[in-house]
Amino acid sequence: MSDDKSLLSRRNALKCMAYGGAGTLFVLSAGVFTPIDLAMAGTDKQGAAGLGKPLFVQISDTHIGFNKDANPDVNRTLTQTIDLVNGMAEQPALIIHTGDITHLSKPAEFDLAQQLLSRLRTTEIHTVPGEHDTADATVTEYFNRFGQASGNRGYYSFDHAGVHFIALINVLQFKPGGLGTLGVDQLAWVEADLKGRSASTPIVVFAHMPLWTIYEPWGWGTGDAELLMDRLRRFGSVTVLNGHIHQIVQKVEGSVTFHTARSTAYPQPMAGVGAGTGPLKVPADQLSAMLGVTSVSEVRHSRSLILNDTTIARS
């Protein structure tokens, strides 16, 4: 953090988060996301007033149980993240966790994660599993705790404030080579779930692995995601949220905005940089600026969503 930023009061920092934060703010206008310069967004009072109540916050890749060099204390950084969310002037209606809740799928890790997450003031939390959550021999630990919403299938949908949320699982059925898979059953379910829904309904889709190919050699994508997109393109506002790669990557394609979230545990290298995926060791004073959450607000009148990423770096 620079000296200038360190002078920001907590209130100002939160205002920054709510109205701009670190990163680029995207505003959806007539089905097209338009990047707005943060400095402008922060000073544009009229625009800021229209941003509305935060709809939900996305937390991802908490990796409870990880204890290697890249972050020996992932409990602390998750706690910092929770403090950040709890400190928001207006609490989000719900929390979405896009997977890798734990590092090794151990019961004690899930228990600790649930204990830590229970400190969130927002109690409604929706999850999807990451491949680190389904790494137990019987693939039951995640489903024993979070399977109820989906009848243990891993995919489900719900509605909130007129927005339709679709939770998908793409970390089972791996094929050699490495991309995630949705599978025919899940795709058929999505088709049925969307049938008859008005094209003006804002859609939020979330899954652990990216639902678009970011970097195939590292498996950063989902092999049959294009079949999913075929079913989503008729909607005027589609927001696709993922985790897995521990960094923000965004893409806008027509009315569909793709966005991957930061981890609260440790960063990973940029696609194709270095030998491969895995925890990226950065100097300790840089770590918190690489960890964070995504908050999503709704502009009520235009029925569109605004994404905003915030790191847990403190002044």
């Binding site: 590092h103 090794l104 491949e131 389904t134 790494a135 791996f174 080579g177 490495g178 498996g219 895995g278």
Partner: protein, 119 residues
């Protein structure tokens, strides 16, 4: 003039032979030892299974050991076996009773693939 050269040559030959015999013997011992110890072991290091493919006799128990800082798994593509997450230096074993080719991946890093051939 010939004798010393002949003697030197003899000495050289016998020395070389001894060296050769010793090398072969030690080599054989080392190799058979390696085969016995390595024949049922697979390590996971630098996001790779090694050695793969691995050939074993029916009835052998294969042990996977993770030497990476990242966790790995060994998951059969047919569902025959599935390890839990192996953290650094943790292992998983499975006994192969029937001949065949058994493919497996790491479910956390599915780029990691391997085959065990059971004879």
């Amino acid at each position: 003039m010939t004798r010393p050269y002949y003697r030197l040559w003899l000495t050289a030959v016998s020395g070389a032979s001894l060296w050769l015999i010793a090398t072969l013997w030690f080599g054989a011992v080392t190799r058979s030892h390696a085969e016995a110890a390595g024949s049922t072991r697979i390590t996971m290091k630098d996001f790779m299974f090694s050695p793969v493919p691995l050939t074993v006799h029916a009835g052998s128990t294969v042990t996977w050991t993770n030497l990476d800082a990242e966790p790995h798994t060994a998951v059969s593509d047919t569902g025959l076996f599935r390890s839990g997450a192996m953290d650094t230096n943790e292992s998983f074993s499975f006994k192969f009773d029937k001949p065949g080719a058994y493919r497996f991946i790491c479910s956390i890093h599915p780029r990691m693939v391997g085959t065990i051939i059971v004879q």
